[in-house]
Symmetry: C2
Subunit: 167 residues, 2 copies
DNA sequence: ATGTATGCAAACCATTTGCAATGAC
DNA sequence: GTCATTGCAAATGGTTTGCATACAT
């Protein structure tokens, strides 16, 4: 895709996330392509987790066309730049999320919804925690259970017709 | 495979793990096949995590032949019986482990080795923890970092030739 | 005797790869 | 102009499925 010469240079946006990505690209001799920024912009607009498919649909829905390979490529770069994380929750396909403040993932094993909750106590605990013969870099805490919506539904309807998660 | 009539009935072994599986099978009208017990026995002999491939190789190496589908089938049953858990660590293929006491997983992002550590403080913290509009069933804590072996190696050899984990 | 479980091969599907055409520098 | 990046289509690899045969009940 060609860059519209009329818009200001979005690759040096004062958005810190965009700037961080640009710096990563520069530092590694990688090019600032329109596709990469389009993908990043869409990722920034997502609140929470998304799959590759959801991301691409969202971009397509916006009238911008990127190939699946480019989506994978950019997502990979964002992970190397430590801006994005990939999670595989039990029984589900891979999901991605921007790296922000540490948080716990609550995964409903009935509907598959994932919710993030901040937990300063836990974060403090982990910060202080040291391991034998192991230097920690980052961690993921996944809590599996049932969200209140599904709990209400299953009280009404014992045989989980709404179960989109387990087959 | 036929059952050797000379051996005592291993499906009612007094091993509590075997017994639990037998009860699960019975309760669900499933059959006590030799394959299922052979797979369970090998899983019990493994200390820590294993992949499907490793499990099957181990069984084959023991002179017992099971098909890949049967391995998947039995592993699935063991998960439904809440005796086995599947984990997908960052950038690695699925690994399984028996469900025992809760523990933290330390994953070395250089060599891919996974170590379990018990952490009673954390377990207590999680037991007490309640979430808004969410009922927890179980959790997984993954800590990514570098094991001391890889730390030593990378001090000697800056360009990680031993990196079997990241490509 | 009945119908579940196994083993095989084919199907599946998310992800990766090879390569010609495109476009950033 | 050069060479990284894109898009496409084909390949990959772990997992699942369909079906005939074997076997637990």
């Amino acid at each position: 895709m060609k860059i519209d010469p009329n818009i200001e240079d979005f690759t040096s946006s004062n958005n810190p996330v965009v700037r961080k990505f640009s710096e990563y690209l520069d530092a590694h001799g990688l090019r600032r392509t329109t596709e990469r920024y389009a993908i990043l912009n869409h990722i920034m607009s997502i609140n929470g987790h998304f799959t590759i498919e959801e991301l691409q649909k969202m971009i397509d829905g916006d009238g911008f066309r990127v190939s699946r390979s480019t989506v994978y490529n950019t997502v990979e770069l964002l992970m190397e730049a430590k801006m994005l994380r990939r999670h595989v929750f039990e029984g589900m396909q891979a999901q991605y999320e921007r790296i922000t403040l540490p948080h716990t993932h609550l995964i409903c094993t009935v509907c598959g919804k994932v919710k993030e909750v901040r937990d300063p106590n836990f974060a403090a605990f982990m910060n202080a925690r040291r391991f034998n013969a192991f230097t920690a870099d980052h961690y993921s805490l996944y809590v599996y259970g049932m969200c209140s919506t599904c709990a209400r539904k299953s009280k009404r309807n014992k045989d989980d017709k709404n179960n989109k998660y387990k087959k």
